[in-house]
């Protein structure tokens, strides 16, 4: 508590942890490249440097607010320093902005513009280094790295993996995996959080937009899209619509106009997942084997278990992810010559996730040895494709998804937020669908932004211990507790990204606290307005079990082994 003077104005501060936060609260957008409230303070970029009344300069991100401080954020000296910092960064940076994937969203580009830098006086002496294109999800371009360390901290602090690290020092310093190995040979789970925090184009999504345009342009191909829950609450923001509002209807309309032959909803497959996973769960509880059940919707988490906790592989649910189930079903459906009319089926799944690009290539997700999902597009890519097509998103009339796979229950929609899978399963286990029952489940403990949540529910006389966690660093804490016998759970739901898929590695980045909660509330709202809120009451699912899935549920919806 106290007051400080910022640029001649008295500003009150309360519990802000650093001077930078106070300055920003006072309405001054002090630039930073390495500061993120979710990560530890690093103090590397020095852009938040300010001056005090004694002429001392310091990085405001690393200074605690003190009563009576007098701060200048825009003195001539500070402005000169700030501009110099950006100029020096640019001098050792690839400046082919027009062809950079990050153009328009790049923080360095934005700062150069803001600082009015029109020429760079210094020569680039950095050696050109090759791109790492080994990962199916991400591309690492070391030439665009500014050593802010955001990726290093995101991987270490949020995901507990630390695949990337600083290597060498001084002018030789770089960010690479150990021994400069390609990402594909590391423990990288493709979650894409490094890319979310990267201010430049040094880590970007491996895009597959051209393959999709090619398929759309091929008259002999039926291009089928499935749209994941978290996508619909993130797309609108990019087109000036209200943050977090579901724009599924508009998105379906735009996808149709872009040339997608059929557009379906992944929530449909989420309902299938719930049917299968709850059956599997009850079976395991009854036999008291392979507990805790570990959810398997999140491919980054599945890879994490396989790499870091192989002894728990058998605990993973054998259910494929909703994406996997959906594609297997649709490919099976179009096997029928009457249905496919001689056309090839090309499944594009639109996901908030980079790891999904990795999931579709894992052979245990194949059906009869064939890849089910042809391409995964992230939210970021679909936004780019919409821009590319020139369609005015905001003014589109809404359209409904196609049939027969175009409807999912509200339980499917909340898969996109941490705790959603658990809540959906609890609904499935409930005997009725009364509002009171649904409300009670919502209050059970699965909801909320905390990284680790645990609670107990009673199912037919048995107490079931539930754990819901998001962020792999939290997952690691949970798994260590389980491994060392400190905790006993029946089911553990993990989403690799903090807060779940709404904050996935494929979502548009630069999402602050307001965006985070808006996306979350958007999904709960989408659930709220759906009349069917239990997976087992989705009529499309029930009829599917009597027809297409008859005797085929296991081969289409499960993996044989991890």
């Amino acid at each position: 508590m106290g007051f400080m003077t910022i640029d001649g104005r008295k500003v009150e501060f309360t519990d802000e942890k650093n001077v930078l936060s106070v300055i920003r609260k006072a309405g001054i957008d002090l630039p930073t490249l390495c500061y993120h409230s979710e990560l530890s303070t690093f103090g590397a970029c020095r852009l938040c440097t300010v001056e005090d009344d004694r002429g001392r300069t310091f990085a405001s991100c690393s200074e605690e607010p003190r009563d009576g401080m007098v701060i200048y954020t825009n003195s001539g000296r500070i402005k000169k320093y700030r501009k110099m910092i950006v100029e020096l960064l640019l001098s050792a940076h690839c400046r082919d902005c027009t062809t950079c994937v990050k153009s328009g969203e790049c923080k360095l580009q934005e700062l150069a513009h803001r600082m009015n830098i029109t020429t760079v006086r210094f020569q680039n002496t950095r050696e050109e280094r090759p791109l790492d294109t080994s990962s199916p999800a991400l591309i690492r371009d070391p030439n665009k790295c500014i050593l802010c360390g955001n990726c290093v901290r995101a991987c270490r602090e949020l995901q507990g993996l630390e695949v990337l690290g600083f290597t060498h020092r001084g002018t030789d310093a770089m960010v690479t995996p150990a021994f400069d190995k390609p990402l594909s040979e590391t423990d990288c789970v493709s979650c894409g959080q490094c890319r979310v925090f990267c201010p430049t184009g040094a880590i970007s999504i491996r895009t597959n937009m051209d393959e999709v345009w090619d398929a759309i342009n091929d008259p002999n191909t039926r291009v089928v899209a499935q749209v994941a829950p978290a996508v619909r609450v993130a797309v609108g923001d990019a087109f000036g619509l209200t943050k977090g509002h579901s724009v599924m209807g508009k998105l379906v309309a735009v996808l149709h106009r872009m040339g997608f032959d059929e557009v379906y909803d992944t929530t449909f497959a989420a309902d299938l997942t719930i049917m299968e996973e709850s059956k599997e769960f009850l079976n395991r509880v009854e036999k008291n084997e392979k507990l805790p059940l570990l959810t398997s919707c999140c491919p980054a988490w599945v890879k994490f278990v396989c790499d870091q906790y192989p002894e728990f592989k058998d605990n993973l649910s054998t259910c494929r992810s909703p994406q996997g189930m959906f594609s297997a079903v649709i490919k099976e459906y179009y096997k029928n010559p009457e249905k496919n009319q001689g056309k090839k089926t090309f499944v594009v799944s639109i996901m908030p996730c980079t790891a999904k690009k990795m999931e579709i290539l894992r052979s245990n997700n194949f059906t009869h040895g064939e890849q089910d999902t042809d391409i995964v597009l992230t939210t970021t890519e679909i936004i780019r494709m919409i821009n590319n097509s020139g369609i005015d998103f905001a003014s589109q009339e809404t359209e409904a998804c196609d049939m027969p796979f175009g409807f999912g229950s509200g339980a499917g929609a909340i898969f996109g937020v941490t705790g959603g899978v658990t809540e959906a399963m609890l609904r499935r286990l409930a005997d009725d669908h009364n509002k009171a029952t649904m409300d009670a489940i919502a209050e059970a403990g699965a909801r909320g932004d905390e990284g680790i949540k645990e609670f107990t529910v009673n199912y037919k006389g048995t107490d079931l211990n539930v754990c819901v966690a998001s962020g792999l660093a939290n997952a690691q804490t949970v798994m260590e507790d389980v491994k060392n016998g400190r905790k006993h759970y029946h089911i553990i739901e993990i989403m690799a990204c903090r807060r779940g898929c709404i904050m996935g590695g494929g979502q548009p980045p630069r999402a602050g606290d307001r965006t985070k909660s808006a996306r979350r509330d958007g999904l709960y709202q989408a659930d709220h307005v759906t009349s069917i809120r239990k997976a087992d009451e989705n009529p499309l699912i029930l009829s599917l079990y009597d027809t297409l899935l008859k005797d085929k549920a296991h081969e289409l919806l499960h993996v044989d082994k991890y």
Binding site: E162, G165, H168, R169, P177, A178, T186
Partner: protein, 159 residues
């Protein structure tokens, strides 16, 4: 693939310092003292054993100039390039050595594994600048010519 004996030796070193993150540097130093370099496989192994991520261990190992992932030659020549030595012309000495031995900024060790040439930031012998060391023996007030003579002498010992 490294011989099993390397891992056994490493286990001994790890046991000595204890399985904790803070043992990383002393363990790496002892491994390097044993083999004159730090084999990458052992670094990965150590990281796993003491519960440090591989990237972190690699980060530490590359931060310090002293650790080398490449086997070093019989004679390790360190040319001091600290401020005092630098202004008294240490770079021409380095360049002469590199030229004579066919080495560069990237290639530090001769193919016959006889010589390794590297720079150090300060040997703490500024009064003797420009200085270099061969296997920890100090050679003061060097010139490119004296350095080349020394190489010839060391080569002679190994004929």
């Amino acid at each position: 693939m490294l011989d099993q004996s390397y891992y056994e030796k490493t286990d001994e070193i790890i046991e000595f310092y204890g399985r904790k993150a803070s043992s990383l540097i002393p363990i790496m130093q002892d491994i390097q003292a044993e083999y004159r370099y730090l084999p990458g496989e052992l670094l990965t192994y150590v990281a796993k054993e003491i519960g440090v991520r591989e990237a972190k261990a690699y980060s530490v190992a590359t931060f310090y100039e002293n650790f080398s992932f490449e086997p070093k030659g019989k004679y390790i020549i360190k040319v001091c390039d600290g401020t005092a030595c630098h202004v008294r012309k240490s770079i021409p000495i380095l360049e002469a050595l590199q030229k004579e031995l066919g080495l560069s900024k990237k290639k530090h060790t001769t193919d016959d594994m006889l010589f390794t040439v590297e720079t150090v930031s300060c040997l703490g012998a500024c009064g003797l600048a420009p200085t270099m060391t061969v296997n920890n023996e100090v050679y003061p007030s060097m010139t490119p010519e004296k350095a080349l003579d020394l190489i010839a002498e060391l080569r002679g010992d190994n004929v």
